[in-house]
Amino acid sequence: MSPDLVLVRTGVANVASVIAAFRRLGVEPRLSDDPVEIRRADAVVLPGVGAFAAGMARLQDAGLVAPLRARVERGEPTLAVCLGVQLLGLESEEAPGVSGLGVAPARTRRLVDAPRLPHFGWNQVEPDLTCRTVCPGEAYFAHSYRLDDDASLAAEGWSVARTREGEDFVAAIERGAVLGCQFHPELSGAYGAALMERWLERAALACAGGVV
C-alpha cells in the first residue's frame, strides 16, 4: 500500500515537478500546511522555497516548526529538498539572525569558489559509506547557497553525501528515514527517481514499525 504522503504547502515553492515525479512512482502526494496532518502523515516532503527568511517565516506562520522538528528528531519519514535541507540547519548567511529548524547541526553559506552562480546543472553525488538511501551518481542542482560539511553532522548521526563545484559541500544528508537533498531528486532523471523510490521504501518500512 502506498504511504500517506504530504507535501508541505509553502505558498511559493515550485511543487509541480515534485508532484509529477511522485506520480510517476505511483504515489499521489497531498498538499497541506496543517500542523496536525504534517505531524501525523506517514511521509512528508519539505520542498525548496525561494529564500531562507521567507521559508522560515512561512513555516512559523503556519505553525509547522514544531511538527517538522519532531519528525526529524524521531527519524520519521521526511524528505527535504534544496532550500528544504538548508532549513533543517542552524542558520543561513542568506538571512543573518534568522534561525533554521536546527535539527541538523550545520550552517548554510553562499558558494564562494564556484566559477559561476547559481550552481546550475548535473554534478557528482558521493555518499560516505554510512549512507543507506543515497547512492553514488549524478544529480541536478540549482542553488547559490549550500550547507557546510560540518563534523557535527556525523557526531549527531547524520550520514553525508558530498559534491564539488570550486569547493566541497553537502549534496545530501540522511538519518533514519529522514533525507535532505541539496539537489533536486525530482529533476534528476532516473537517478532521482530511484532515490525517491528508495526513500519511499524506507518510509513504508518505518510506518510498518520496522527499524530504519
Binding site: N14, E138, F141, E186, L187
Partner: protein, 268 residues
C-alpha cells in the same frame, strides 16, 4: 565540477513543435510530449520549451503543453514565450516549469525580472536574449555590436545586447539564454563572439543558442564560456541525437554527463 549541459529546445506553436529559420517559415516538427520523452531518454540534461507564437498574438504561454510535458519528464524544464507578468511566470511554474524565460516584456519593463526573482528565486529567472549583429558594427563611431530583437524576432530595438544582459543579471536573472538571431536555424554555428562577450560580461551561467549543427559548433561555444548548448533543428530533423552529440563532446574532452541508458539510434 558541474557538467556542461546539452539542451534540446522545443519551439511550440498551437500544441505542436515547429522550427523555422531566423524565427520565420515555421514547419511542423512533431508532438512535444513524444519529443520531450525521447530527448530525456537520449541524455538531454534539461529541456527548453518556447511558445513561439505567444508574444505576437499577445496571449499567455502554452500552459497545457507544459503540464503534459512535465508529466512525462524527470529533468528540468525552462519555459518561455509570452511571459508578461509575474502571474504568467507563477502559472508556468504551477504547470510544471522549473525556470521561466522572459524576453520582450522584461525589455519593456525591466522590473519584471526583479519581481520574478523576488517571488520565485533567481534560480527560476532566465533572461531570454535574442541578439542580432549590427550592420554598422566595427564602423567608426559605433561601439554597439549586437542589438536586442524582440517580439519573436520581428522588432529590432537598438538596445545593446551586452549591456542589457549585465543589467538583467543585476535585476535578478540567474541564467541567460542567448540566441543569435543571425544564426538561428541556419546550421552555420553559434555566434561565438557574442557568447564570449556575454560570458565575460556576466557571472551567471550562459546557454548558447542559434545555429548549431555539429558537436564542433558546441565545443566552440563551450570554449567561449557557455555553460550549456541548446539546439533544436538538428535533434528534430534526426540529423543527430543528444546521445551522439554528448559522446562526441566527451571524446573531445568536454565534461558532459553520460547518457542514462543506451538509446535507440533514431528518435521516436
Amino acid at each position: 565540477m558541474v557538467r556542461l549541459r546539452v539542451i534540446p529546445c522545443l519551439d511550440v506553436k498551437d500544441g505542436r513543435v515547429v522550427k523555422g529559420v531566423r524565427f520565420q517559415g515555421l514547419r511542423d516538427a512533431g508532438d512535444p510530449v513524444e519529443r520531450a520523452a525521447a530527448y530525456e531518454a537520449s541524455g538531454a540534461d534539461e529541456l527548453c520549451l518556447l511558445d513561439v507564437s505567444a508574444t505576437r498574438e499577445g496571449r499567455a504561454s502554452a500552459v497545457e503543453t507544459v503540464r503534459a510535458v512535465r508529466a512525462v519528464i524527470g529533468i528540468p524544464l525552462t519555459v518561455g514565450g509570452g511571459v508578461r507578468r509575474l502571474e504568467d511566470a507563477a502559472r508556468l511554474l504551477d504547470a510544471g516549469a522549473d525556470k521561466v524565460a522572459v524576453n520582450t516584456a522584461a525589455l519593456e519593463r525591466p522590473a519584471l525580472l526583479a519581481e520574478i526573482k523576488e517571488r520565485l528565486g533567481a534560480q527560476c529567472t532566465v533572461l531570454s536574449l535574442d541578439a542580432a549583429r549590427r550592420g554598422d558594427a566595427g564602423q567608426p563611431g559605433s561601439t554597439l555590436r549586437w542589438e536586442v530583437v524582440v517580439a519573436g524576432g520581428t522588432r529590432r530595438t537598438g538596445t545593446d545586447a551586452i549591456e542589457w544582459a549585465r543589467r538583467a543579471v543585476d535585476l535578478g536573472a540567474g541564467e541567460i539564454l542567448a540566441t543569435s538571431w543571425d544564426r538561428d536555424g541556419t546550421g552555420e554555428g553559434y555566434d561565438v563572439e557574442l557568447l564570449r562577450a556575454l560570458s565575460e560580461a556576466v557571472p551567471v551561467p550562459l546557454i548558447a543558442s542559434g545555429g548549431a549543427r555539429t558537436a564542433l559548433h558546441m565545443e566552440t561555444a563551450l570554449d567561449a564560456g557557455a555553460s550549456a548548448v541548446l539546439a533544436a533543428s538538428i535533434f528534430h530533423d534526426g540529423l543527430t541525437t543528444v546521445d551522439l552529440i554528448k559522446r562526441e563532446l566527451a571524446r573531445s574532452g568536454r565534461d558532459v554527463r553520460p547518457s542514462p541508458t543506451p538509446t535507440p539510434s533514431t528518435l521516436g
